[in-house]
Subunit: 241 residues, 4 copies
């Protein structure tokens, strides 16, 4: 609820009720910039995308949206050794980041990735398709590129309805899941980040002091220009991008 | 594919390729009228509705559509001891049949069953909602009455798209599944029908000879008048409704 | 830990640390004698026996031991509609109770139930076998009567080792599980007991006042003579068997 | 059954009934020496060890026995990104091979690996323990080093019973599974071997012609001296170790 129904959590101090129920001991050597990723985007990507989607070794996985959460999906999906991860986005800088974090194939969202996905899967489509954008077009793309018996896992926060083509899907044995992270995976993720098995630090591209918050939001709002992925704020004012 | 992409299977004889792979020995005492239900509607209802939907003991289950497949859902859902089965349909005769086959609550589809379902579930909605109609309105009703962490299992054959209200659903941890029967459940169902644990015979309300096929279709097309559920045809001409 | 590592919980009052985390609101109309069954034997039987064992509709289930926990297995296994429940015990009175609570077949433990189980399963053995005694002989019987791909769920509290015939079992795709109840099933069980779907009250055969505790233990220790299943104690002294 | 109940399958030619049901198209570039591993040890290790054992990202996995099947477990377990794989064996050459194929820690079986496993798991034991030897001592070791809620997956072919210490295990929520490969995983494994994600070729240490079969068996029978892992035979006589 913090930051969603309860405002003000970019203050210097926040009182969190029942915080002892969701506090974790950070392993030595973990920087604050890395640790903060474990509070939201990493468990969100892993639980709502990879685990709900049921990625298995050998699968073809499509990730629609290569923003911070989509990139965290690309990182954590590799824990299940898919044969191939295909990232779809509009921004070349994000597709480049996707490649560096482990995507095998990247596809420009405007150039109809359906054909590319069909080509690399013998026309079958992907086993698991993960939506990390939150607009009808990207969700509908997911339902077009999933194979029979495949899974579409929605992570995106949507503001309006999508069209569900049941006239095609009713016979395809497709599963669609939605969800919000419950952070049950934080202990396992912490352990893997600490041991170096999840190289997440490159997700944080910029760090600002709290006093530079306007600039931070500006940088974050123009990822195509700034190549911003995740931007962090520090209470101390001495940090800069 | 028989009857879908391959025409003519209401002929006296049909050659079925690889039929040995899907033939089952009928237990003694099973009538043909009962056995024929195991070829399609019973495994469809059970596999695509009850098993895909994941009905558990204590659940509230909503079945939208009380035609033959919806009624078969009501019958087979009871194998998992839900606390409560709520049937939704337009036709009073079908709601009556639903009650006789085990529905605890029935609801007229035109009278907004949302409120009724909310009332009996403390406002949470149903654990499992099964669509057995195949029109956008009934699918959309399913997605409105499912509770967080619930499951919508679509059985209906749809001819056009539905609207998926992702602006409500993205946060609800809902799973939606579609599918076509693969009949893997026939051996278990046969065993339960033979031992009397699945009283399916009342699903067949009319039996006609092949020569009366026009009349049979007429009866089947007016269920509100004729109270027809499943209508069977026999090669022998001496049968009547 | 109460009653196991912490003594004295048959006192009039017990202080239970963190009790708010495991307290449940009792539905109206539930007697204390029924409610107390939900604190241990019913969730133990259901979670460690029925759920761990993975009972499915149509299964053959063998329950070895028809004491209170075994009888609670017989009751709760029916929530999954097995085709057949076979109860094995030494005491005729307990086999009689097993029949009344839903066992389809009962077998005297001294008369080699293997043959009987083979006969009713076409020589395959049972899908799920549940151990509710706690001695090597009964556990070993379980591993002899389980079918390939079947499951042996151990509930019994054992004091010494058993022999595991891996020379037979290694090739049989068998799963063996052990465990202690964690009571996650209490809400669902409460709901089913309250609605009359789990007729558990006959498990309590005797009720004594705390002052009659010696007599209560004596009755409980001679089930063959007294037909005692579960014996309850009440703080008020005015109750009698 | 071939080679188990049916003799003679090291002949130049073998007639295999229904062979079309279990034939797979080999991808280009796969050598015969690699392909033959997919007929048995790789799917056995993966299905009966890794999949039955339920390896998850972050787990500690212990593999008892680092012969060819145990090494194939070490290879395929990595598909699920465990935090740590601990290999146990008697032969230093096999522990060396285990390290090269991905074991993080190796332990000499005679030097009580319990303490080592306890040390690296904060005293909890391993999440998944896989038996790949087939003698009572190694199976019993598995049941001592598994943590509460852990899984012991037996692959070993056993000739005599083991002792199951139920007096310790009944309360530990442990699952034990046995099984024989059914080869359902061959398509996925083939795909991963072909794409280089499963570097299995080093499992074959020696290749002989059929005419050198006595020598081949001699080499295979003295792994401590010869460092033999898997030995293959070729119909052509011109191959040597």
């Amino acid at each position: 609820m913090l930051g969603h129904l309860i405002n003000g959590t970019q203050a210097e101090y926040v009182r969190v009720p029942f915080a002892d129920l969701s506090a974790h001991l950070l392993p030595d050597g973990l920087t604050d910039e890395t640790a903060v990723l474990l509070a939201d985007i990493l468990p969100t990507a892993y639980e709502v995308g990879v685990l709900s989607g049921g990625v298995h070794p050998g699968d073809t996985v499509v990730v629609v949206g290569a923003g911070p959460v989509g990139l965290a999906v690309i990182l954590t999906a590799q824990l299940y050794s898919p044969s191939r991860i295909i990232a779809v986005d509009l921004a070349p800088s994000r597709l480049e980041a996707a490649k560096q974090l482990g995507a095998d194939v990247v596809a420009d969202a405007v150039q109809e990735p359906e054909q590319l996905i069909a080509d690399v899967t013998d026309g079958l489509g992907a086993n698991v398709v993960i939506e990390a954008v939150g607009v009808p077009e990207s969700f509908e793309l997911c339902t077009r590129v999933v194979r029979p018996r495949g899974h579409v896992a929605n992570i995106g926060v949507h503001g309006k309805p999508a069209t569900l083509h049941l006239e095609d899907l009713w016979i395809k044995n497709v599963t669609i899941s939605t969800g919000l992270v419950d952070t049950r995976s934080i202990p396992a993720l912490l352990c893997m980040v600490a041991s170096g098995r999840l190289p997440v630090s490159s997700l944080v591209t910029h760090t600002f002091g709290l006093g530079q918050i306007q600039e931070a939001y500006d940088v974050f709002s123009r990822p195509a220009d700034t190549a911003a992925l995740k931007v962090t704020l520090r209470k101390e004012q001495r940090y800069a991008a």
